[in-house]
C-alpha cells in the first residue's frame, strides 16, 4: 500500500482517503457498472461491523464521508477531527477484505443504482448524448462504457459479481492511502501499521487488462433529437494522449492549449464565436489529462438564437483552422500558464482537493514527484509544444455531437 501524507495544520481536521487502482474501465465485459455498484455495496457492513455501523460512527463523530468511482479508480473518504483518524483507518481497513454481502442488502441497493441512473441520464438528453459520444469515440476501449454502467447490465448484477470483483481488486497492493490535514507522516505511519498493516499481502497487485484503442481513421457524427431539448448544443471529443500515455511535456502542452482555446471568457473560442461573430452564447474546451489510457479533449459551443448547429460547427472549425495556421504567441502561452499555475496555488487552500489531486495521480500510475513538478512543467511549455499539441485536434480523431430539439415530437 502506498501512503501519501499532506500536512495542513490550519484546522484540526483530517481527510482520510483510500484509493483503489480499479475503476469502471476494469469492469468485466457484460458486467458494466460493477465497480460503481460495489462502491455502493461497500457501505453494507462486514463480518466485524454490521450494516450502517461505520456510517453511524462517522456521523456521531461529526464527520463526513462518501465515495466515488471513475474510469480508472474507486475511492472512499472521510473528513473528521484529527483525533478520529485512527478509528477511520480501522474501519476502512476492515472493509478492504471483510465485506459481508447478502442478497437482502444487494437487491434494494441495485434499485438505488438504477434510480441513480434514471436521475442522471434517463431524463436528460444531454447526458444521453454524452454517453453516445463516448461510446462512439472509444470503439474498443472500455472508456466508451458509462461509469455507472448500461441499464440492462446493471439490472443483472448480483452478489457474486460484486464479490468476485471485490476479491480481485480490494487488496493492500492495489490501494493507496492519502491523509491530508492536521497530522505528520510518523503518526500516520504508526496508525497505518496498526490497521492496514495487519491485512495479509496478496503477493502482487492485480493487473488491469486494457485493450488499446486502434488509431482512429473515420470522423464520426452523433445526433440526438429529443422533444425535451430547449437549448441545442454542439460538442466534439478528440482522442488524445493522457498524462500517462503522452510523450514528455505533451500533456502539459495540451493543458495550455485547452486553456488558450477554451478556458473562460478571454479564450480564443469565446472571443471569436461569442464576442466577435455572435453565433454562440458560450463556448469552451477541456482536456482530461488524468487517465491511465488515451484520453479526451473536449470542445463545445451553445448556439445563439437562430443559428444552426451546422453553422456553429463551421465557425468552430474556422477557429481551429486559425489556430493551426497562426499558432500561438509566447504571450498566449504565458497567460494560460499563469492561470494554470495559480489554480495549483488555490488548491493548497483545500486539503480535500489536494488529497484528490495526489490520489488520482497515483491511482493512474503517476508519482508524488509528478504532482509536485506539475507547475514547473506547465511553465516550461513552449510555443512549439503547443503547436505540436494542436496536431492532435483532427476530425478523424473525433466524434462530433449534435443535441437538437425534436420538433416533430414537440
Amino acid at each position: 500500500m502506498d501512503v501519501v501524507v499532506i500536512p495542513d495544520h490550519r484546522a484540526p481536521v483530517v481527510t482520510h482517503m483510500v484509493w483503489y487502482r480499479n475503476g469502471s474501465a476494469d469492469d468485466p465485459r457484460g458486467k458494466s457498472g460493477i465497480a460503481h455498484f460495489l462502491e455502493h455495496l461497500m457501505f453494507k457492513g462486514t463480518q466485524n461491523h454490521q450494516q450502517g455501523e461505520f456510517s453511524h460512527l462517522v456521523s456521531e463523530l461529526g464527520g463526513q464521508e462518501n465515495a466515488f468511482t471513475s474510469y480508472d479508480f474507486t475511492a472512499y473518504f472521510q473528513r473528521v477531527a484529527r483525533e478520529h483518524l485512527g478509528v477511520m483507518m480501522e474501519f476502512e481497513a476492515d472493509r478492504m477484505t471483510g465485506l459481508n454481502l447478502t442478497d437482502e442488502v444487494v437487491a434494494p441497493e441495485r434499485e438505488v443504482v438504477m434510480e441513480e441512473r434514471r436521475m442522471r441520464t434517463e431524463a436528460d438528453p444531454a447526458a444521453q448524448l454524452d454517453e453516445a459520444l463516448n461510446a462512439a469515440l472509444f470503439t474498443h476501449h472500455s472508456y466508451g462504457v458509462p461509469i455507472i454502467g448500461w441499464g440492462h447490465e446493471i439490472e443483472t448484477l448480483d452478489r457474486n459479481d460484486a464479490l468476485a470483483y471485490y476479491r480481485r481488486f480490494y487488496t493492500p497492493e492495489n490501494a493507496i492511502l492519502v491523509v491530508a490535514g492536521d497530522i505528520e507522516t510518523p503518526e500516520v505511519e504508526i496508525l497505518a501499521r496498526q490497521t492496514y498493516g495487519k491485512i495479509p499481502a496478496r503477493g502482487e497487485a492485480p493487473v488491469r487488462h486494457r485493450p488499446r484503442e486502434p488509431e482512429p481513421r473515420a470522423e464520426r457524427i452523433v445526433k440526438l433529437a429529443d422533444a425535451k431539448v430547449e437549448q441545442p448544443q454542439f460538442e466534439r471529443i478528440y482522442l488524445v494522449p493522457s498524462a500517462r500515455t503522452a510523450e514528455k511535456g505533451e500533456a502539459e502542452a495540451l493543458d495550455v492549449l485547452a486553456h488558450h482555446l477554451g478556458g473562460g471568457q478571454t479564450s480564443l473560442l469565446f472571443r471569436r464565436l461569442v464576442l466577435e461573430r455572435k453565433i454562440a452564447v458560450s463556448a469552451g474546451a477541456y482536456y482530461y489529462a488524468d487517465a491511465v489510457d488515451e484520453s479526451r479533449f473536449y470542445v463545445y459551443a451553445l448556439p445563439a438564437e437562430g443559428v444552426s448547429l451546422d453553422e456553429l460547427e463551421r465557425g468552430l472549425d474556422d477557429v481551429l483552422d486559425e489556430l493551426r495556421r497562426d499558432g500561438v504567441s509566447r504571450e498566449d502561452v504565458d497567460r494560460a500558464a499563469t492561470r494554470l499555475v495559480a489554480d495549483a496555488v488555490y488548491a493548497q487552500d483545500n486539503q480535500t482537493s489536494l488529497a484528490r489531486w495526489f490520489g488520482a495521480a497515483l491511482a493512474n500510475g503517476g508519482t508524488v514527484e509528478d504532482v509536485l513538478g506539475w507547475s514547473a512543467r506547465i511553465e516550461a511549455v513552449t510555443v512549439d509544444d503547443v503547436a505540436k499539441a494542436v496536431k492532435w485536434l483532427q476530425k478523424r480523431r473525433a466524434v462530433s455531437g449534435f443535441l437538437l430539439k425534436d420538433e416533430a415530437a414537440a
Partner: protein
C-alpha cells in the same frame, strides 16, 4: 480560527476592522497559504427584482465584471485573468453577494478591479445583450429539467403573487425586458453601505484591509432604498401538484413552513431536521426510502432560512411506478416524527454530529469567510463561533419533541411532482 474550540477560541481570532471611512469587516489573518479570500453581501437580492423583470439581480451580478471604469468587458476579463483573480457576484433570494479570491501578491490589483466593478460598472450594450442571451440559455435548459421544473411548480404554489414565486436566476420572457436603466437603478438602490457585510480571510493585515475597504465601499450610497418584501407563510399545505412530463422518474419536491434563523427554536429545529432528512446515510428518510426500499438515489430535507418565509423543504426522485410508495413513506415519516418525536439515542447522535462537524466549516479560507459573512447577516457576533456548539448540546429531548411538533405540525405538505407518477393524482389544499 481553527484550533479545537475547547483549546483556543475561534472568536478570538476574528479581528473587527473598521476603515477610516467607517466600513467594517471581520478578518481572520492567516499566512499559511499565500491567498486572500473575501466574501461580502448587500441585503435585497433577487427578491428586489422589479415586477415583470425577474432576473434583474442575476443580470446585475453577471454584468458588474463585464467592463468597468476605462476597461471594456474584454479588457476587464483580461486584467482578471492575467493576475489569476477569481471575482464574481451573485444574486440569491435575499441578498446580493460578492466573492473574491486572489493570490496574495496580486491582492492590490484584485481590490482595484473589484472597486471598479462595484463603483464604476459600464453596463455596455454588447455585454448586456450577450449576458442576457447566456442567462436565457440557462433558463431554457432549466425549463425542461425535471428537478428545476418541480422547484418552480412548488415555488409558485407556495408563494403566489410574491417575489419568491420567481426564480432568483430569472424567468423566461421577463429577462428580455430588463433595460440598462433598470440595472443602473437596481445597483443604486441595493448596493449601499447600510446593509453591507464583509468578511476576509488570509494573507492580509488589518491596516491593509482597512485601506482597501474604503476604496471598495466608501463611495457607495449610505442607505439602500429597498422595496419592502412582505412576509408570507408557505401556502397550499395539503395540495399536490402533478406536472405531466415524459420522463421515467417522478421528481418530487415537498415542504411546509420552517423556522426563522433567529427564532429560539431554530437550533432544536436543526437537530430535528438532521434526524428526519438532513443527515446523509443516517436520517430516517434515507433509511426508510433509500436503504430499506431502494426507492431512490437521493432523498433529503432541509431548513431554508428565507428572510420572508422560512421553510422546511425536501426532495427526492423515484421511478414513476413507485412514486406513490415513496410519497407515502415520506409522509408517514413526517407524521411519525411529529407524533413521537425523536428517540433519546437519535437526539444524542444528531447533536454529536452537528457539534463535531462544525470544525469542517473552517478548513478553507473561502468557507471560513463565507461562514463569517453568514453570521453577520444573521445578526450574530463573533462570540457565536464559540457559543454555537454549547447551544446545540443544550437541546433536550423535550425541546426536540416540542419543536418536532411545532415544525411538522399536522404534517400537511405542499407537494409538487414532475413526471408520470403512477397512482398519484392532483389534490387541492386542505
Amino acid at each position: 480560527m481553527n484550533a479545537p474550540a475547547q483549546a483556543v477560541s475561534r472568536a478570538e481570532r476574528v479581528q473587527h476592522v473598521v476603515s477610516p471611512g467607517g466600513i467594517s469587516a471581520w478578518l481572520v489573518e492567516d499566512y499559511a497559504v499565500p491567498l486572500v479570500a473575501m466574501e461580502f453581501s448587500f441585503a435585497g437580492g433577487a427578491a428586489q427584482d422589479p415586477k415583470g423583470k425577474a432576473g434583474s439581480g442575476a443580470l446585475l451580478a453577471a454584468l458588474l465584471d463585464e467592463g468597468a471604469g476605462e476597461l471594456p468587458a474584454e479588457a476587464f476579463h483580461r486584467a482578471l485573468d492575467d493576475h489569476a483573480i477569481r471575482l464574481s457576484f451573485s444574486a440569491e433570494r435575499d441578498e446580493f453577494y460578492g466573492h473574491l479570491q486572489t493570490l496574495a501578491r496580486h491582492s492590490d490589483k484584485a481590490f482595484e478591479l473589484m472597486a471598479l466593478a462595484l463603483n464604476a460598472p459600464r453596463f455596455d450594450a454588447e455585454p448586456l445583450e450577450r449576458v442576457r442571451r447566456q442567462l436565457n440559455a440557462v433558463l431554457k435548459r432549466e425549463s425542461r429539467d425535471p428537478d428545476s421544473m418541480a422547484a418552480q411548480a412548488w415555488r409558485r404554489a407556495a408563494w403566489p403573487n410574491h417575489p419568491y414565486a420567481r426564480s432568483s436566476r430569472g424567468e423566461l420572457g421577463e429577462i428580455e425586458s430588463v433595460t440598462r436603466d433598470d440595472l443602473v437603478a437596481l445597483r443604486g438602490k441595493m448596493l449601499a453601505r447600510d446593509t453591507l457585510k464583509v468578511a476576509a480571510v488570509g494573507a492580509i493585515d488589518a491596516p491593509t484591509l482597512a485601506r482597501h475597504l474604503d476604496a471598495l465601499f466608501a463611495g457607495l450610497p449610505e442607505k439602500a432604498a429597498l422595496a419592502p418584501v412582505p412576509h408570507i407563510d408557505v401556502q397550499a399545505l395539503g395540495r399536490r401538484i402533478v406536472v405531466d412530463y415524459d420522463v421515467p422518474q417522478a421528481n418530487i419536491r415537498f415542504g411546509r413552513p420552517g423556522i426563522a434563523r433567529r427564532d429560539p427554536d431554530y437550533i432544536p429545529a436543526m437537530v430535528v431536521n438532521h434526524i428526519l432528512g438532513g443527515g446523509a446515510f443516517t436520517s430516517r428518510l434515507w433509511q426508510e426510502v433509500r436503504e430499506k426500499r431502494g426507492l431512490t438515489y437521493s432523498v433529503y430535507s432541509s431548513l431554508a432560512t428565507a428572510d420572508h418565509s422560512p421553510c422546511f423543504i425536501g426532495s427526492t426522485s423515484t421511478k414513476n411506478e413507485r412514486a406513490a410508495e415513496s410519497l407515502s413513506v415520506i409522509e408517514a415519516e413526517f407524521v411519525r416524527l411529529a407524533a413521537e418525536g425523536p428517540t433519546a439515542d437519535e437526539l444524542e447522535k444528531a447533536k454529536k454530529y452537528i457539534v463535531g462537524s462544525y470544525a469542517l466549516r473552517f478548513d478553507t479560507s473561502t468557507k471560513i469567510a463565507g461562514h463569517l459573512l453568514q453570521l453577520q447577516r444573521e445578526g450574530f457576533g463573533a462570540d457565536y463561533l464559540d457559543r454555537r456548539n454549547s447551544e446545540v448540546e443544550a437541546v433536550t429531548l423535550e425541546d426536540a419533541r416540542r419543536v418536532a411538533k411545532r415544525l411538522i405540525g399536522d404534517a400537511k405538505l405542499l407537494v409538487a411532482i414532475v413526471g408520470r407518477p403512477e397512482g398519484v393524482s392532483e389534490q387541492s389544499a386542505a
